[in-house]
């Protein structure tokens, strides 16, 4: 039975592919049915006109898990999916503003509750099947289906109610919100429009989770992005080819993307990426550490390294403020008495030499940080946030006020004692795979030694680190980093809200544990439904101030976005938002007379 359906499917796909190829390749000599020759409404991109052809090779740290946007949770899968899929409205990574994508235009009703989106006419998926409003309806039905467990679902729930989607005509869709949503059309960024013709059957059978594995046959997978699946070699590479139906063109009307193939090589780690790039096997490199960046800059041969400036990653130290109730061990209770003391946290913050972190960890290619909004985010930072200088005196004064005292050892070293006369000792967890944060921990350890605190640094594998912080919650303090995916504050919503999973010092609370957390919750919720940027900014600034006063997260530093590309790559413009170098992949091209046939 099964074989018959498979065969049928093949029979049905092959003629359509052939037919649509014909349309694309040459002027039709035969008369086609009316629907086949609807004019395509291409999006014309300004900027440098490139040269078609060639292949682009980049490396990925490990294999992506899936091509299916509904189950992709890891950064590598998202990077690959990003070049194979497209969204209705897209945030331009360079300008950090929205621009039309699959949607030709959109209109927001005066009450801010309904969004009318008009699709481009005549668009096709990478397998040649046309796109219409039904695909959009299907996509959002799947995202919102609780049984699918799509990670996108949370983004589509506004004040507890899911967004409703309605079809107005074949190319117009209306989204209805329960409450005004400050983010506006940014909401649609990153929500890939799925091919209904391929996914409806697995969806009805409840097998969506199994679709889109890397081993999928090339003709069984499609998207609206600039590239489509060609070949996957397990453990080695993923080869994508140019999507001939892509809906963008350059200023001269040439259809994008320029390059014929995009190859992702799988390598085990960052050092291997550097080696591949150095040897010329890959054309571009991003997410570089400062040390590797300076190694590559020192011996530039045929490539150029670019420092795109501060990004959106913020690194911070936080203490365990969870309330485990009666299960807390006496030792933990004693430690948490310090951690809960605001002056203790402020003292730690005052004693951290952020300037040294920027210099020694990032070799100066980074920025010191005092608040959650990283300096790369130019619109949303609060300039009035205090930047207290590094000062042991202030730290000691704060500790003294909080009832701490010091005892002197025989060798002249002093030990910090709490109000019960017990020495202050705790451990800081860091991810063992992240050398940068391990270095920060070593510097902080030394800074806190000056205050008489005995600190141990414990490197832990990142998976078990996250489990400890969010699940078992058995730790003292931890250093982590988060990279926001967008400049809008809503991308960090789960850090801000006390109910959020990334509210790391005390995640997923039923009710806010402290008055200031309740106040932040209120500000952030209000900001979400505020209509104008100024209103939102004001509320958001206040939330940043409260966070800075209470120091549940002691912000450390933010690294610059560092990237590099061969000189033969045209239109290379790394952005500070993910995906740093592939955001304009359709415009990248190989300059005249250069051949990159390396593999």
């Amino acid at each position: 039975m099964k074989r018959v359906t498979a065969n049928l499917k093949c029979c049905w796909i092959c003629p359509t592919v052939l037919l649509s190829l014909f349309v694309f390749v040459g002027p039709p000599a035969i008369a086609f049915p009316q629907e086949q020759i609807t004019k395509e409404e291409l999006l014309v991109l300004p900027g440098e006109v490139g040269r078609p052809g060639g292949r682009l090779v980049v490396s990925l740290r490990g294999e992506p898990k899936t091509l299916n946007p509904l189950i992709a949770a890891d950064a590598r899968s998202r990077e690959v999916i990003g070049v194979m899929q497209a969204d209705l409205v897209h945030i331009n990574r360079a300008r950090q503003q929205t621009e039309p994508a699959l949607a030709k235009s959109w209109k927001i009703s005066p009450d801010g509750l309904s969004y009318t989106i008009v699709l481009r006419q005549g668009l096709k998926f990478s397998d040649g099947q046309p796109l219409d409003a039904d695909d959009v309806l299907f996509t959002f039905r799947v995202y919102l289906d609780e049984n699918v467990h799509a990670p996108q679902r949370d983004l589509l729930i506004v004040s507890g109610k899911p967004i409703t989607v309605r079809k107005a005509d074949a190319h117009t869709v209306v989204f209805q919100l329960a409450k005004t949503y400050g983010v506006g059309e940014r909401l649609f960024d990153g929500l890939a429009i799925l091919p209904r013709h391929l996914l409806e059957k697995p969806y009805q059978e409840g097998k969506l989770g199994q679709s889109g594995s890397l081993a999928t046959a090339a003709d069984q997978w499609a998207g609206l992005g600039p590239f489509r699946l060609k070949e996957y070699v397990a453990g080695q590479r993923l080869v994508l080819e140019r999507n001939p139906y892509y809906w963008k063109s350059d200023a001269q009307g040439n259809r994008l993307p320029y390059v014929d193939e995009l190859v992702f090589l799988f390598v085990p780690n960052a050092d291997a990426q550097v080696l591949k790039f150095q040897s010329g096997e890959t054309d571009m490199i991003s997410q570089l550490g400062a040390e590797n960046f300076s190694v590559l800059s020192r011996q530039q041969r045929g490539y150029t390294m670019t420092d795109a400036g501060p990004g959106l990653e913020y690194n911070f130290l936080f203490f365990n403020l969870n309330d485990a109730g009666e299960k807390t061990s006496p030792e933990m209770q004693r430690k948490q008495k310090w951690f809960r003391e605001v002056k203790f946290r402020q003292a730690v913050s005052a004693a951290v030499d952020r300037e040294a972190i920027v210099r020694l960890v990032y070799q100066g290619r980074g920025a010191a940080l005092w608040g959650l909004v990283a300096p790369g985010n130019r619109r949303w930072g609060n300039e009035k946030l205090p930047h207290p200088a590094w000062s042991f005196e202030r730290a000691r004064a704060l500790l003294k006020e909080a009832g701490f005292s010091w005892s002197n050892g025989p060798n002249g070293e002093s030990t910090l004692l709490d109000s019960d006369g017990k020495p202050v000792e705790f451990s800081i967890l860091t991810s063992s795979s992240n050398a940068d944060r391990a270095k920060m921990a070593a510097l902080i350890q030394d800074d806190l030694k000056q205050l008489g605190m005995r600190v141990q640094v414990v490197p832990l594998e990142s998976r078990s680190l996250l489990d400890r912080v969010t699940q078992s919650r058995d730790y003292d303090a931890c250093i982590m980093g988060i990279a926001s995916y967008d400049a809008d504050p809503n991308s960090d919503i789960s850090v801000w809200l006390s109910s959020g999973g990334l509210h790391l010092w005390n995640p997923s609370q039923a009710h806010p544990a402290t008055p200031w957390e309740a106040e932040i919750d209120r500000l952030i919720e209000e900001q979400m439904s505020a209509r104008t940027f100024e209103q939102r900014k004001k509320l958001y600034d206040r939330a940043q101030e409260i966070l800075a006063e209470n120091q549940p997260m002691i912000f450390l530093a933010s690294p610059n976005i560092l990237a590099g590309a061969k000189n033969s790559i045209g239109n290379f413009r790394p952005a500070v938002l993910e995906p740093y170098v592939l955001w304009n992949v359709e415009q990248l091209y190989l300059k005249n007379g250069t051949e990159n046939a390396t593999r």
Partner: protein
């Protein structure tokens, strides 16, 4: 006699080397954990006798290195001011041999700091870290070998002198221990231990783990010696005269094993130093900021360090004279006790 002379030579060499490491506080100019954040990855300074103007100085001097403007790890020599090296000067506090409070250092500079082997990522003095790190690594080797040999001696003696089912059981157990992939077992054991352990506890944990792991080979050797000694004529004679079990063991059998044990010690110590280095290199040993030879080398796991700063490799060279010394000692001990056939597999743990 020649054998004896060679043996003495090796013993003196090792004594001097261990002395330097033992008195690390005196030979090292600085505290090994002290960070000089203005000088990360500073290359080794050179001793000079002749300055820029061609003048000869009787007292050796160095030029202070200054960070080049706008650079992270490029330094320029400040050749205008030679910094004469002072000897036996007062500096950072330390405890000689772990208990005597002291402030004298062999050498140092008056105004700036001297880095003969350069600095690491945090501006810590590599020479001081190398010397203090040697204390950790060598002590781990010595104590670990001590534990192994005691266990090996007990088990080997029991197996050899009682024979029968006890012998078979213990020797099968020994075979099992030898067949295990030790590095991975060490990982597993270390992973089960508590997360945050103080450097001192971590150190003793490592020693115990390393020490317990390797008893099988010495135990088998001791058993062999005991078995053959038991059947010697003079032992039979003593037994004939009515010597007790305990007396025989104490007076005749145990002394026979001493040569095997000493040789084994000379082989095991470097092996265990290496084991400690492996664990620390992989981040399972003594935690930062306490130095050990293994974690001094661990920053070489990063490609950027590997290609940029050659002086980070120096701790790897430091162990070479120690290993040579121990191997020389082992072979002369073996020559001396040539009556016993000693398996000289050195590098397999």
């Amino acid at each position: 006699m020649r054998v004896r002379r060679v043996l003495t030579r090796w013993l003196v060499t090792l004594g001097v080397l261990h002395g330097i490491v033992g008195f690390a506080g005196f030979f090292a100019p600085y505290d090994p954990v002290e960070q000089d954040r203005k000088s990360p990855y500073l290359p080794p300074m050179r001793f000079h006798l002749i300055d820029g103007q061609g003048h000869f100085h009787a007292r050796p001097f160095v030029y202070a290195l200054k960070l080049r403007e706008g650079s992270f790890d490029r330094y320029v020599e400040n050749t205008t001011e030679p910094q004469p090296v002072r000897f036996f000067m007062k500096g950072a506090r330390y405890r000689l041999l772990g208990f005597l409070p002291c402030r004298r250092h062999l050498f140092g500079l008056e105004n700036t700091r001297i880095y003969l082997l350069g600095t690491d990522a945090y501006g810590r003095d590599q020479l001081s870290r190398l010397l203090f790190g040697g204390q950790v690594s060598l002590l781990a080797g010595l104590l670990g070998a001590g534990i192994t040999l005691s266990i090996g001696l007990c088990i080997g003696a029991v197996a050899g002198s009682f024979g029968g089912w006890r012998d078979s059981l213990l020797m099968r157990l020994a075979e099992l221990f030898m067949a295990l992939p030790w590095l991975y077992v060490l990982f597993a054991i270390r992973a089960f231990l508590p997360l945050a352990v103080s450097p001192l506890r971590a150190f003793f944990l490592i020693i115990t783990v390393i020490g317990i792991v390797g008893w099988a080979r010495p135990a088998r050797l001791v058993r062999g010696v005991v078995l053959s000694a038991k059947e010697r004529d003079f032992v039979r004679a003593a037994r004939g005269f009515g010597a007790t079990h305990g007396y025989l063991f104490r007076r005749h059998i145990l002394p026979e094993t001493s040569s095997v044990l000493l040789t084994q010690a000379a082989i095991l110590i470097p092996q265990y130093v290496l084991a400690e280095m492996t664990l620390s290199f992989l981040g399972l040993g003594v935690p930062e900021p306490v130095p050990s030879w293994g974690n001094l080398l661990s920053s070489l796991q990063q490609y950027s360090v590997l290609v940029s700063y050659w002086w980070i490799y120096l701790p790897a060279l430091a162990m070479v004279p120690f290993f040579l010394g121990y191997l020389g000692l082992a072979s002369s001990l073996q020559e001396r006790g040539a009556a016993y056939k000693i398996e000289s597999r050195i590098w397999g743990i």
